[in-house]
Symmetry: C2
């Protein structure tokens, strides 16, 4: 089952204590698509400018990502510059140039309208709803958002959430959205607004999933080789939804597997700058790391 993703394609300049990258391939839709492409076909809708390197287009095509929805318009591509200190959980934005992304209006190609799984990456919640108007009858709609929209377009966001089954956000966003310092109550509140499943990303602490009133806790892999956390959240979403779209199984048990698969894909992505680790990744490594997550968390019942 193909996934439709709508989000950003960007050129990122990132510095961490372990190195840096200049004008590297980035953007929420890019990370998501690449991670999801290990599991299923991906249809991308985004916009780039005239300066977007053909090599990046070639890379996405090599990952079987359908680029018929990638608009190329006059102007410069969205650029983001940021840095991380030793606390890799926190990005410090140095510069944001929206460029062509400022006028982005998602146009869903006819060939994408039958998409059964839709991921609305972190864009204006009004645009997220515009996307849903253009798809026929998706079986699963998932979305991301951020503090910028929670603060600035709260009403629009709440309208969007009514149409979202799975919300994938981080813990700070969960608390901010629900206006509640307690994560359990916050999840309950948000769930009542629409999404029956909340996936709460917590960086190096793993992820929590709240679904139909029950919790699942997935760990992050303890790692000593994190080079660049940029895109980890979108790779998580890509692994999570890619796995679900491939297995076509939305049971509680399979949602749990999908959450772990999200953590697996995020754990690979942070091992190198930009998408470099996913460029060389092969499926057997993914399955092996899934097994490592099982060993990491397993404990026996009491005798």
């Amino acid at each position: 089952m193909a996934i439709l993703v709508v989000g950003s394609v960007a050129l990122d300049s990132v510095a961490t204590p372990f190195g840096k990258a200049q004008d590297a391939l980035g953007g929420s839709a890019t990370y998501f698509s690449t991670a999801a492409s290990f599991f299923t076909d991906v249809r991308l809708v985004a916009v780039v400018g005239e300066d977007f390197p053909q090599a990046h287009v070639d890379f996405l095509q090599s990952r079987r990502v359908d680029l018929r929805g990638l608009q190329r318009v006059k102007g410069r591509t969205f650029r983001w510059a940021g840095e991380y200190g030793f606390d890799l959980n926190q990005a410090h934005t140095l510069d944001t140039q929206l460029n062509v992304f400022a006028q982005f209006r998602p146009q869903i190609p006819d060939a994408y309208r039958d998409s059964e799984v839709v991921f609305l990456a972190n864009i204006d919640p009004d645009l997220q709803r515009e996307v849903l108007l253009q798809v026929r009858a998706p079986r699963l709609v998932a979305a991301d958002t951020m503090n910028f929209w929670i603060e600035g377009k709260r009403e629009a966001l709440l309208k969007t959430l009514k149409q979202v089954e799975v919300l994938i956000i981080n813990d700070a966003e969960t608390r901010q959205l629900a206006q509640d310092a307690n994560l359990v109550r916050a999840a309950r509140t948000i769930s009542a607004w629409g999404p029956h499943t909340l996936v709460i990303k917590r960086g190096e602490y793993g992820a929590l999933c709240y679904r139909h009133g029950a919790w699942f806790s997935a760990p992050a892999l303890p790692m000593d080789g994190v080079l660049d956390p940029t895109g980890a959240g979108d790779c998580f979403a890509g692994g999570f939804l890619g796995y679900l779209a491939n297995t076509l199984n939305f049971s509680d048990e399979n949602i749990r597997r999908a959450v772990v698969m999200g953590s697996v894909m995020a754990s690979f992505n942070v091992e190198a700058f930009s998408l470099d680790r996913l460029r060389t990744l092969a499926y057997p490594e993914i399955a092996e790391r899934y097994g490592a997550f099982r060993r990491l968390t397993h404990f026996d019942a009491l005798d």
Copy 2:
């Protein structure tokens, strides 16, 4: 198998957004003993002043805690006052009065010298070693410490660590002790100094265990009813070591069960101020919550 614990018995005044307690029963050895007492016999070594209420002595005795090592001396009992904001991970100390604890020299009663499991709670590392000189041949020595000793008595602490098999500290202390921002490398460094097992407490994010080069990740229970986190770390240690002392099984598998049992006991303790939740706790509730931790973390292998 009885556990020997050496640490503090205190009177705590604590305020959180959800209430407060004045001169309530506290201290590392108190929390540890009470939590461990659900699993095994506990022998306590600590000091209190003339003002220490008999009701607290009676409570510890009702939990089968052996108090022959509890010194009662002239002066006032150790007092700590602190408060928490909505971020319950971080205590803000308002006042510390060491009182009789300032001159504490652990005297291990003869009847305790054959203790096979020893927990050196958070006290001066020189005193921790003095304790070990007074016990015969413990099968398992575990210890806690804190930033105060890591900064102020580093050499003494490193000397103590050579004699410690299990170090139970939080993530910030792990990084500070190893002088490494990365938790994986930090654990490896500390492990090389002595402790073959590191249990790293991460508050609402659960606990990590590093042992013979492998990691185990235990979650915390998502909770909406945390009233007071004071003593959670010591209840964790009490559940962990109490379970191990009771089962007499130091295999990797049982260490994992013990880590979860630590999380279980901590999760109960934070439900009320002081030790109030443990006063009414019964073992069937403990076993039931252990099961909840299993459901919280379980996920299946890939098909």
